[in-house]
């Protein structure tokens, strides 16, 4: 456990350093970025250099960046001229809501479809498989636009924008959750079908277990291992997808903050979002390692 914690911290340090190095290596210097396409005179440049302490050696800037980070100070946004921590604090809630709702949508849909169709003849499987393929291969942006034009613009069931209340969460969560459901559903069904061919399934059937009970009590546990491994992947997919989904639906959240920061080259904000994603990733993969032990007793041994 302590080793995992150490490894996690190492990943965070690496993420912080990598994002810092990327900033240094990126073409154009920080002053260029801050000047943007606005007026550009030596006086303006000097003012910017003085304001952000850019005249110090790079290693000093790096160390002071790490030092501030250790104290929980994420710096100030170039673009918005206020604390990065303050900007992110207001945006974590909506993103957490969205990604959790999308994850839940994805998992529940995948589970229902997989359990409903595994080993149930050709047609249901073909239909489910086609639906999964579509949801995986259609870009989330297009899924979002289609959902919006049908359920918001035409039917008027759900509002287009904002994060007020559950109704506004339905469409974004679906748009973000459907691709997850697609991949997860395929893996889960494949795992279930393999499990149902195992000798233990034959034994269980011989004991007189119904097919449903067999799936629920025995096969599901076997099928879960590959699916849980995928959960690491879909954490990334959800965080990445949140960028598109939030911008499309006009929702507040980290995704649109990241989008605005990247287009505006607002590096302190970009670096903070990278760090935060790393924290989430490390946490999720640690939790998954623990989950394996619960699901598969062999790993515990």
């Amino acid at each position: 456990m302590i080793r995992r914690l150490g490894a996690g911290l190492a990943v965070l340090w690496a993420a912080a350093t990598a994002s810092y190095a990327a900033l240094l290596l990126a073409p154009g210097d920080t002053v260029d970025i801050l000047v943007g396409d606005g007026p550009d005179t030596p006086e303006i440049r000097a003012g910017i250099v003085a304001e952000w302490g850019l005249d110090r050696p790079e290693i000093v800037q790096y160390l002071s960046y790490l030092w501030r980070l250790l104290h929980g100070d994420l710096g100030r946004s170039y673009q918005q001229q206020r604390g990065v921590g303050e900007i992110l604090a207001g945006q974590i809630g909506p993103t957490a809501q969205l990604t959790l709702a999308a994850a839940a949508t994805g998992v529940v849909l995948a589970g229902l479809i997989a359990i409903g169709t595994a080993g149930r003849g050709r047609w249901p499987r073909a239909v489910a498989s086609a639906a999964e393929l579509v949801s995986v291969s259609v870009p989330p942006f297009l899924i979002g636009i289609v959902l919006l034009s049908v359920f918001s613009f035409s039917l008027g069931w759900f509002p287009v924008s904002g994060a007020d209340g559950p109704a506004a969460l339905v469409l974004p969560a679906l748009a973000l959750g459907l691709p997850v459901a697609g991949v997860l559903g395929q893996v889960l069904r494949g795992g279930l079908e393999r499990a149902l061919e195992q000798p233990f399934a034959v034994t269980a059937r011989a004991r007189g277990l119904t097919e449903r009970a067999l799936v629920a009590r025995h096969a599901l546990r076997h099928a879960l291992i590959p699916a849980v491994t995928l959960a690491g992947w879909f954490t990334g997919a959800l965080l990445g997808g949140a960028v598109i989904t939030e911008v499309l639906f006009g929702r507040p959240g980290l995704g649109q903050v990241a989008m605005q920061a990247v287009t505006g080259q607002d590096m302190p904000v970009v670096m903070a979002v990278v760090l935060l994603s790393a924290v989430v990733y490390v946490t999720v993969s640690t939790l998954l390692d623990l989950a394996y032990r619960v699901i598969d007793p062999r790993i515990r041994g």
Binding site: G28, D32, E86, F153, V160, G162, G250, R251, P252, G264
Partner: protein, 531 residues
């Protein structure tokens, strides 16, 4: 119904439920494309966010479409004969949203704020370059002294940058540079909340009685509340409007215009922006655009009307000068003086020595292909300008054998290309409310965004004279000369189209319009619901 209403109101009043006046709450939701990066008017830099500024703040002067100035928080102003002393007489009945009084000391505090190092280096270096000091003469009279005459100073006093902020909140605001509900002004609306990525919400300032000259009504705003929703995706904005979830949107792309115009429940308004047209500036510092004939040939090789029609479906207005046609300084004599002469383009290139062709049909001289590169910074590519560049690329290739390469890069790489002089075409438009301010940045030798790297001492002299002159007619003549030099004599620029703003709204929303100074959507002060 007409008879029932007063009865209802009486009943309501009798119940003591609500005073009659506040029962008339009207609110509106307006979907906008761009989020403000700051709510502090003194740091404002986005034309797309201009419509928000004058909800919360008032400037000292107002500006009309013909470039003349009118009263706002200042009722009168005089400029000394040497152009160095400005005396402003201020309204004496104005209060900030925090209850403090607006007076000459407040204006002085606002001007002095710009002198704080690092506060707004850009404004300190450009707009307030010549500002010396402000002096309170009497409670409502202020004297401003300049170091040198500056014709653009009045334009500054009428810009969002001169939005008056309560001195108390300049000292006490938690995030001075970002602004927010604790950075208050005197405007017709009071900022209630800003939720990044979602919306900005204002409520009416009931005490408001000081609209700018040119406003359609007096007294407080019609709307009791207004919410601006941020919907960056154009199709989503249009969908939200057609389904009635918002009542107004701005930023209607050419591809959606037909849909809005077809809908009998919706109205569409368009206005051309002031400032400069979207133009290609030719880099004259090296081959091939160091040769005037090649620059001219590039312009002649493009059938711009056809290109604009296909890219913008008839919604774009062709530009003939650097200065947009809405600006009082526009020189209409440039119209139809160049462009679209394919035979002429080829003759010019032959004469310039680009005679041979390579296997792909591009012109070649001394083994070098006739290649010109545009390097654009992705965050600033908007308005289908990437598609426009592709259409021009096809035309110059087909009509004249010019290899026009379009590179859309991250901002750092684009800046690198500028630093390394590794570009031949630079696309730019500016939204300055005084086109002269833009010309000062673009044309003089070594100016802040002089990407043509072109220098003409005469032109620099005219621009300097225009900046120092306060006579509108004299400035117009000098700027016309500058435009003719850049467009006709030296052909360093290829004006393409005049940027425009669009507002689409439900039929029952009235009073929508454009800020005459900028051509961008106006604030919500005159907006009302009803017929």
């Amino acid at each position: 119904m007409k008879r029932i209403l007063p009865a209802l109101l009486l009943t309501l009043a009798a119940c003591g439920a609500q005073p009659v006046q506040t029962a008339r709450t009207t609110s509106l939701t307006w979907a906008v494309e761009t989020q403000p990066i700051t709510l502090n008017p003194q740091l404002w830099a986005q034309n797309k966010a201009r419509l928000l500024v004058f909800n919360q703040f008032d400037a000292l002067l107002s500006k009309a479409a013909d470039g003349s100035f009118g009263p706002w928080l200042a009722t009168a102003w005089t400029v000394s004969d040497d152009g160095l002393t400005y005396t402003l007489d201020l309204r004496d009945d104005v209060t900030f949203h925090d209850g403090t009084a607006f007076d000459a000391a407040a204006v002085k505090a606002n001007l002095d704020q710009f002198l704080v190092p690092g506060y707004n280096p850009s404004v300190a270096a450009i707009q307030l370059r010549s500002f010396d000091e402000a002096e309170v003469v009497s409670p409502h009279r202020l004297r401003i002294t300049l170091k040198e005459p500056d014709a653009l100073f009045l334009d500054f006093l009428a810009s969002p940058l001169a939005g008056q902020v309560s001195p108390k909140s300049l000292k006490g605001a938690e995030d001075l540079k970002f602004g927010g509900p604790d950075l208050v002004g005197t405007g017709p609306f009071i900022l209630e909340r800003y939720v990044q990525g979602q919306e900005i919400h204002y409520r009416r300032n009931p005490a408001y009685a000081w609209p700018p000259a040119g406003a359609a009504h007096q007294g407080p705003a019609h709307l009791s509340e207004i919410t601006y929703r941020f919907l960056p995706e154009a199709a989503v904005r249009v969908g939200a409007l057609t389904s009635g979830q918002v009542q107004v949107i701005e930023g209607v792309p050419a591809t959606e215009v037909a849909l809005i115009e077809k809908d009998p429940e919706l109205t569409l308004r368009t206005a051309l922006n002031s400032g400069t047209a979207y133009s290609y500036y030719f880099n004259t510092s090296h081959a091939p655009f160091d040769d005037r004939r090649v620059r001219e040939a590039f312009r002649e090789a493009v059938d711009l009307d056809a290109v604009l029609r296909s890219v913008y479906q008839g919604t774009a207005t062709r530009a003939w000068s650097i200065v947009g046609s809405e600006s009082p300084f526009y020189d209409p004599s440039l119209e139809n003086t160049y462009g679209g002469d394919v035979a002429g383009a080829n003759a010019l290139l032959d004469a310039a020595g680009w005679k041979e062709r390579d296997a792909e049909g591009f012109r070649v001289k001394d083994g070098e292909r006739l290649t010109v590169r545009e390097v654009a910074s992705a965050p600033f590519v908007r308005d289908r300008r990437d598609i426009l560049a592709q259409a021009i690329q096809a035309q110059v290739k087909q009509n004249a054998g010019i290899d026009f390469q379009v590179k859309i890069l991250d901002q750092g790489s684009a800046q690198q290309a500028v630093d390394d002089d590794a570009y031949e075409v630079f696309g730019n438009s500016r939204g300055d409310s005084d086109a002269g301010a833009a010309l000062n940045l673009i044309l003089p030798e070594g100016a802040a965004i002089n990407r043509t790297r072109f220098a003409d001492p005469d032109l620099d002299k005219w621009l300097a004279a225009a900046s120092a002159s306060s006579g509108q007619a004299e400035r117009k003549e000098l700027y016309a000369r500058a435009q003719r030099a850049a467009v006709t004599d030296h052909a360093v620029v290829f004006p393409l189209y005049v940027p425009a703003d669009q507002i689409a709204a439900s039929k029952n929303v009235q009073g929508l319009g454009f800020d005459p100074a900028s051509g961008t959507p106006a604030s919500a002060y005159d907006v009302r619901i009803g017929t």
